[in-house]
Structures are given as structure tokens and as C-alpha cells.
Amino acid sequence: MIELENVSKQFGAQLAVDRLSVQVPAGEIYGLLGRNGAGKSTAIGMMLGQVWPTSGNLRVCGHCVLSERHLALRKVGAIFESPAFYDYLSGYRNLQILSAYTARTDARRIREVVDWVGLGSRAHSKVRTYSHGMRARLALAQALLPNPELLILDEPSDGLDPEGIHEMRLTILRLHRELGLTILLSSHLLNEVEQLCTRICVLNQGAKIFEGNLAETRRNGKWVRLKTTDWDQATRQLAEQGLISTHRERRLVALADGVDIPRIVRALVASGMEVHEITPEEESLETFYLNLMDRGGAASTHPTSSPSPSS
């Protein structure tokens, strides 16, 4: 649905996006992560033909964004952080104006979408009277009007209260489930990404430093969470038998090469110790992201000469 191939963007001396290659298949909820200024919004701007790439190829919905923008964006809806509207006009008029830039949209379709997002009777009020949550609904409505196949969401929960964030999350899932939309989500909210996305791409200083399934981010090498009657004795014995390489936080052990969990359990039971819990440690996206940023931050100091540790 989205294909970026070695796309770069330079603003003066600053390299905002560095040879970014991304593929978002149809039906996916794809997360774009990174610090402020990592190049996420620039990458989205290039996908929408708002920012001209310095080099590289971009295709959206099978069409080149640079030469066939009108075809590429025909079935695309987008929501940006702090969505802007004509505050002095009604929500309904805003929808009429914005949707007309895609195609002629009849009143029935606008009413249908207005009802779908739950704007209902307030659609005819001026946008300046809307709460932040209502503006978010209006933003969603304008994105849905062209009957999109692809939805690009740039920080859609920005500025929303916790209930609003929760509601936005449910709406995104509903859009994916009920309408089968492909969704590209750029967000700072890691738990949001964790709950929504099937695949993520992490950017740092314009370069991709990770791309993979969310499950891959949860794998944590050889770390295993262990609860026994005597932590000190258990780790000492396991280390002496060469079954673990190290341990930390009095709850995690790192398995030695070729060692699996049943072997640990057998060794502990044979030593007369009770095993209350033993399970592979899953890393949260937050821990994964922060570790990645620590590594990536150092690596991307010289991004052109360092290989990116993508999966």
C-alpha cells in the first residue's frame, strides 16, 4: 500500500530523512516511531506529496506520488496532530469543503460519516465551539469521507485527554476491523502503538534503525524470569553448572548457549529447590524502544557509515 525506496530529504544542510525504505502491506496497522525531529512527519509529508523528496521513489496505493499524485491520494485519508479547520465555519461546511478536493461528495455520505464518528447534531455548529475531542472526530470524519483504503495518522491522539486517547484507539481498531483499512500510525504513545500496531518502524535522526513485527520487539534474548525458594543458592548452582551466563535484579537469569528452560527446571528440582515461576522475559515496547534509542543514538551519529540494526 505504501512503498518508500531509498527516500531522502534534505532541508539545507540538515538531512531530515536518510535513505528510508519502508513497505506497508495492505491490511496492516503500521507504526512509525521516533523522537521529535526523527523525520516521521517529513516521511508522512513525502507520502502525501506535501514535501518533495531529495531522492528516492515513493508509491502509495500503487501509484507514484511524484508523477501521479492525484491517483495515489484518491483513496487516502489523513489526520495530523492538532487538526486544523476553518473555525468560523460549521463542521459540516468544513467537511464539504475538504471532501470536494477529493471528489464530489453527496450530502447523504457526509451525514453517514458524521453519524459514524458520533458528531451527530453538532455537525452544524461552528468549529470554534468544538472541544478537542470533537475536533478529533471531525478530523476523522474528513479523513473517512473519500472512502479511503489507506489512513495516515500523524499523532492522532495529540492533545486528547485519557478518555479521548482510549476512544481514538478503539476507533482505529474499529476502522481496521470493520472497514479493513490499512493504517499508518505515527505516534509518541508507545502503549498506543503496542496495542494497535502489527509492525513498527523506528526512526532516529532520519534513518531507520528498526523495522519488524511487534512480536520481535518483545523477544528478549536469553533472559528468563525465575522465582525460587532461594535466589542466591539457585543462581550460584546454575552458574556452577554452566547453565546461566549471568543474572540481574534478583529475578532474571540469562541462559547459557544451548540451554533451555526445562533443563533449568530439572537442575533446580534435582538440587531440591522449589520453582515457583519460570518464564521467558518479554520486553515491553518502551524498554525495547529506549534500548534501541540508546544504541541507535550512538550509531546514527554517523548514519551513513553505520549499518542500521534492523531485523
Binding site: F11, H70, F80, A84, F85
Partner: protein, 278 residues
Amino acid sequence: MFCQHLTNELWKLFGKKRTYIGFGAFLLAQNAMLLAFRFTRWKSDLERMLDGNGYLAQDYVSSLTVAVIMLIPQVILLLPLYTALVGGDLVAKEAEDGTLRMILARPVSRFRLLLVKWLAGLIFSAALVAVLGGTALLFASFWFPWKGMFVFAPGMVFNVLSAGDGLRLYICSQLFITVNASIILALAFMFSCFNMKPAAATILALSYLFVNLVMEGIPFFERFQDFLLPHHFRMWLLIYSQPTPWARIAESFCVLVAFNLTAFLIGAAAFQVRDIKS
């Protein structure tokens, strides 16, 4: 779809209050000038001038005469200000507010978007001038009778006309004032297509006009007056000359239309290569 886009653009333009600042300012200025004309020496000076030239002042101090007298300073001072204000807003304000990014997430070409905005700007110019001319005549007719018309602009026009001819030329002059207004609007519009704040676009357009005005007043630049906008802006007054200098008016008209198109194309080219970011 083009008509739909234009209609939407007009909704956006005429839906916001600041578009009407110019209309309000004109109404205030016209009434203030009418009071000044009625109750100061302004009127007696005009009567003396007419009498001195062998005309009966009472036949020519009319609503048409006063309407034109009111228009001269307003066309020079207020019209550029308010058309530049709206022209500077057309693209730059949308970019500043973020609505431009919302629009350009849709499959509309940048050129079409600008073309629609430029046309909406021309319609605004025509509406502003129509209101300016209409209200000037309306308010003047409350205080002064409907009689012959006297038009005087130093070094350009000195003419007396019957009420019928005067009205015909008055309407005709509104068309040329519309062209003037559209030039200033197009100039501000052109600057607003670059990456700058709306106020900066307005100020640049007014500065360009001001520099033209100053240069025109310097004797050295007399030979270059064909390149200066104020020289061509005066065609609306030349329409009242006897005989009418049609060749000179046509030349100015062509120069102004070409200037307008050039400003649009420069703006469109700048906008086309611009990156639109939040």
C-alpha cells in the same frame, strides 16, 4: 468540480470577519469625508474653482462629483491596504493555520488550488470596489443633489459632464478601479505563496507599491514611469478626460493585466516547489 472549488473558496473568504474590515473602513471613511466636505471649506474651495473657470458651481456640486472626490483618496490609501490584507491571507494564512496541509493531503493539484484562490481574490476585489463605488454614490446622494458632474485631478483631468454621462463614466471607472485592486491583491497573493507569514506578504506588497509611488515622485525616474504601477493605476481617472485617451487607457490596462498574470505565475511557481510542513 472547478466551480465547486471556487464556491468553497468564496465560502472560506467571505465566511471570516477580517474579510469585512475593508468594507467597514470604507463606510466609515466615506461618511467622515462627507461630513468634512459638507461642513469645512472643502466645498467652498471647490465652488470657487468652478466659478473661477466659468461654471455655475450650483450645477456641479452634486452627488456624482462628491462621490468621485471621495473615491480619490480611498483608492490611493485604503484600497491598497485592504486588498493587500486579504491577498496576503489567501495562501499564507492557510499555511500558518494548518488548513493548507489538510487540503494538500487530498488529490488536488497545487496549481488548481492557487487558481481557485486567485479567482476568489479577483471576485473579492470586484465586490469591494462595487461596494466602495456604490456606497460612495449612495451616501453622497443623501447630502447632495443629483446634478451634473465635475471631475478634477491636478495635471490629469478637468471636466464637467451631464448627470447621465457622469454616471456612465462613473460605472466604467469602477471597472478600472477593480483592475487596480486586483493588482494589489495579486501582488500580496504572490508573496503569500512563498514561505512567509500573512502579515509579511501584506507588508511586502504595500512596500512594493510605496516604493513605486516614491520613485514616481523623483524626477530621475520620470522616464521609467511606464514601469511603475501608480502611473497605470490612474487610468480610472483618465476615463473622465475629454477627449478620452483610449490608447493610454488601453496600454495601462494591458500592462496591469499582464502584471496580474505574472504575479500569479510567479506565486504558482514558488508554491509548486515549496515543501508544506506543519
